[in-house]
Symmetry: C2
Subunit: 388 residues, 2 copies
C-alpha cells in the first residue's frame, strides 16, 4: 500500500551530449556572481573547466573560485565555502564534478547565511534551514550519488570521525543539472564501479523494507535490472554511450525520492558504510559494497518474502523445487557474483579497516529503523566483524 506522502521535485535536467549548451540560458536567470565549485582538478585536465569558464564569461558572470572539494567533503571545507559565498555575495553556486561537489554546494547553500556553525546545526542537530538559501546548479561528471536531483548532502568530520547525511527540502535541490554521459567516461574504472554499486545500493535501501504490493518496488526492480544490464556492458566497454547514459539516468532516479514514495526505507547499509568511510576515508560506493552482503544475510530471515522477490524478479532465479530461503539466498549469491564482476570491495579489511577499529566504527554507526530488523549495537559489531 502507498502510504500518505507528497512529491515535488522541481530540478530541471538537461541530459545528453548537447546538455552543456543549455547552461547559458540557465545562468541568465541568476545574478552576476557565481561560485565555481569543483574537485581536484580533473575538469582542468579534461578541458571542461575551460569550457565552463568561457560560458560564464560570455554570460558576463564574475567567477569566485572554489576548487579542491575532496571526495568526502569535510566540515572544515564547508565552513570555508560558506564564508566565500557570504563574503562575495554569491548569486549562484555552480558545482562541476561528482556527487561530492554537488553535496558540498548544497551544504554551502544553506550554510552561508545560517549564522552559526553549519556542522553543528545541520549534521549534528539535523535542523532545517530558515535562512536565505543560495541557488545551486550542477554539471555532473560522475554517475552515482543522485545528488543532482535531490536535497541531500553528506559531510565528513575527521576530528569527530563522523560522516553524516542530511536530506534538506525541495528548496535546496539543484535548480538545474546538466548531465552529459560522455563526461563520466574519463573516470578511472575503480570510481566507475564504485558509482555503479552506489546506485544499486540506493535502490536496495529503499526496496528492502515493507511487505506489501507497491508501485515503488516495481520501479525499484526496473532500475536495478537496468543498471545491472548496463554495468555489464560498461565494465567491458567503458566508452559505450548507451550503457553510460543508462547508468547516469538510473543514478538520478535511484535517489530523487521517487522510489521511496509511499513506503518505508532502510538506509542501514549507508549508516554502516559511512561509519567505515569516516575511519578509512575510502570511496563511498566501496564502503557500501564492503558491508552489504553481511548485512543482507543478517536481515534476510526478517524480510524473507522481499528477498525472495528480489531473487526472482531482479536476478531471474528459478523458484522451482526450492524453499523460500534457498531462493532468497540464491538471489544474494547472484548479487555477490555481480559485485565480483564489477570488482567492488567485498570486505572492509581491503579498505584498510582493522579489527581494532571495529568498536569505533560501531560507535559511529547510526542505527535507524525502517528496515526489516532494528539492529542492536551487538548486531552492528557482528555485521562489521563479518565484513572484515
Amino acid at each position: 500500500m502507498l502510504g500518505n506522502f507528497s512529491y515535488h521535485n522541481p530540478t530541471k535536467l538537461y541530459f545528453g551530449e548537447d546538455a552543456l549548451t543549455f547552461l547559458a540560458e540557465e545562468l541568465d536567470q541568476y545574478g552576476p556572481t557565481v561560485q565555481l565549485i569543483y574537485g581536484g582538478g580533473s575538469i582542468k585536465k579534461s578541458g571542461l573547466y575551460d569550457e565552463i569558464v568561457a560560458i560564464l564569461r560570455s554570460c558576463g558572470k564574475t567567477i569566485v573560485e572554489d576548487g579542491g572539494v575532496m571526495p568526502n567533503p569535510t566540515a572544515d571545507k564547508l565552513r570555508q565555502g560558506a564564508k566565500i559565498a557570504r563574503e562575495n555575495k554569491v548569486d549562484l553556486l555552480l558545482a562541476v564534478g561528482g556527487g561530492s561537489c554537488c553535496d558540498y554546494a548544497k551544504a554551502v547553500s544553506v550554510s552561508a547565511y545560517c549564522g552559526e556553525d553549519p556542522w553543528d546545526k545541520y549534521f549534528l542537530r539535523f535542523e532545517e534551514p530558515t535562512c536565505k538559501i543560495i541557488p545551486v546548479g550542477c554539471v555532473l561528471t560522475m554517475a552515482g550519488t543522485g545528488s543532482e536531483m535531490n536535497g541531500g548532502a553528506v559531510i565528513s568530520n575527521h576530528e569527530e570521525k563522523l560522516k553524516i547525511g542530511h536530506v534538506f527540502g525541495d528548496d535546496v535541490m539543484p535548480k538545474f543539472s546538466i548531465l552529459n554521459p560522455r563526461y563520466t567516461m574519463t573516470l578511472p574504472k575503480r570510481q566507475m564501479v564504485a558509482g555503479i554499486y552506489d546506485i544499486f545500493n540506493h535502490i536496495c535501501e529503499q526496496y528492502f523494507s515493507g511487505t506489501d504490493d507497491n508501485t515503488s518496488d516495481y520501479i525499484a526492480e526496473a532500475l536495478m535490472k537496468s543498471v545491472v544490464a548496463s554495468s555489464r556492458v560498461a565494465i567491458r566497454a567503458p566508452e559505450d554511450y548507451e550503457a553510460r547514459s543508462n547508468i547516469m539516468w538510473t543514478a538520478t532516479w535511484a535517489l530523487n525520492t521517487l522510489i521511496a514514495c509511499g513506503k518505508t526505507t532502510d538506509w542501514m547499509v549507508h549508516m554502516l558504510g559511512q561509519a567505515v568511510g569516516a575511519y578509512t576515508d575510502q570511496t563511498h560506493g566501496m564502503t557500501l559494497s564492503a558491508v552489504s552482503l553481511p548485512y543482507y544475510r543478517h536481515i534476510l530471515p526478517y524480510g524473507l518474502p522481499k528477498f525472495k522477490r528480489f531473487a526472482t524478479e531482479v536476478w531471474q532465479i528459478s523458484p522451482l523445487g526450492k524453499t523460500d530461503e534457498q531462493i532468497a539466498l540464491e538471489g544474494l549469491a547472484a548479487l555477490e557474483g555481480w559485485m565480483r564482476e564489477l570488482g567492488v570491495a567485498t570486505s572492509i579489511s581491503e579498505l584498510g579497516a582493522t579489527e581494532e577499529m571495529l568498536d569505533g566504527i560501531a560507535d559511529a554507526t547510526f542505527i535507524l529503523d525502517g528496515g526489516y530488523k532494528v539492529l542492536t549495537k551487538e548486531e552492528v559489531k557482528e555485521i562489521l566483524r563479518e565484513s572484515l
Copy 2:
C-alpha cells in the same frame, strides 16, 4: 541509448487519504478568485464539492462556478470557460474531477488571454501559448489520464468530428494535484476499467518504439506489471485501498514524460482511438482498448524484438522451444486475456461504430511516425476494419 532530452516536472503532488488537508496552504499562494471546474455533478453526490467549497470559503476565496465539463470536453465548452476566466479575472483554475476536468482546465488556462479562437490556435495549428497562463490546481477523482502531472489537454470538436490533444510546456502543468485514492472508489466499474486500460495503453505507446537498451523501457515494464497486478485485485475488490492507490500512482507516472525520456514514442493507438471517439463519443479508455489488438498484431513484425521482450518481461511467457514470433504472439494473447478479465471493449462495433463510419474515422485519424511502422491510409482502414 538515451537520446538528448530535458526533463522538468514541477507539479507538486499530495497523495493519500489526507491529501485534501493540504489544499488550503496551496490556495494561499494564489489570488482571491477561483474558477471551480467540475463535471456532471458526481462530486456533489459524494460530498466532495461541499468539502472543497468549505475550504475555498475558509481561505476567503471568491468562487466562480464552472460545472458541466463533459467526459470529452468540447471546443464550445472551452470557449465558454475561457470567457468565464477572462471576465472574472480568475487567479486559479481548480479542477475537481477526472482527466477531462483537468485537461479542460489546462486548455482554459492558455485560452483565456490568447486573443483568438483557442481551438484553431492550439488544436488545429498546434501553436504554443505566448499569452498569460492562469495557474491550474487539480483534485483528482479518477485514475487514468495522467493529466494531473503533465501539460497535455485533449479537446473534441463534434461539428468537425475531431478529437485532438496538444501537449503544452511545463508552464501549463498543474501547480499542484491532490490525489486521494478513496475518491476513485465511487466510480462505476466500467469507468474504472476504462481508466486502467488507458493507463496501460499510455505505457504501451511509449514502450513500443526503439530497439535499444533503455532505462525508460525498464521503468515502463515495471509500471505495466504494477497496474496489471493491482487491477486484478481491484476488479474483484474495488475498495481495496492498496490496489487503488497503486493504480492511481501508476497512472501519474505513466504519462508525465518520465518513461518517454530519451526515446521515440508511438501514440498511434491514441490517434485511432481518438478518431473512434470523435465518431462515437465513447469513453477514451474503451476506444483505445477496442483498436489495440488489431494495431499491435499489425505492427508486430516490424517491432518483433520489443514484442518478444513485452511477452517475457511483462507477461512471464516462457520462451523455451518457441520462435520469437510465437513468443511475441503469446504476449499479445496474454494482453487480450487481461483485457477480457477487465471487461474493456475489444471491438469498435460494441462502441457503436459501423462499417459506414470507417472511411470517416480513417480520415479523422492522424498518422504519426515514431513507432515501428508508419501506417498508410490503407493500413489505418485495415486496422479499423479488423477492430469492427
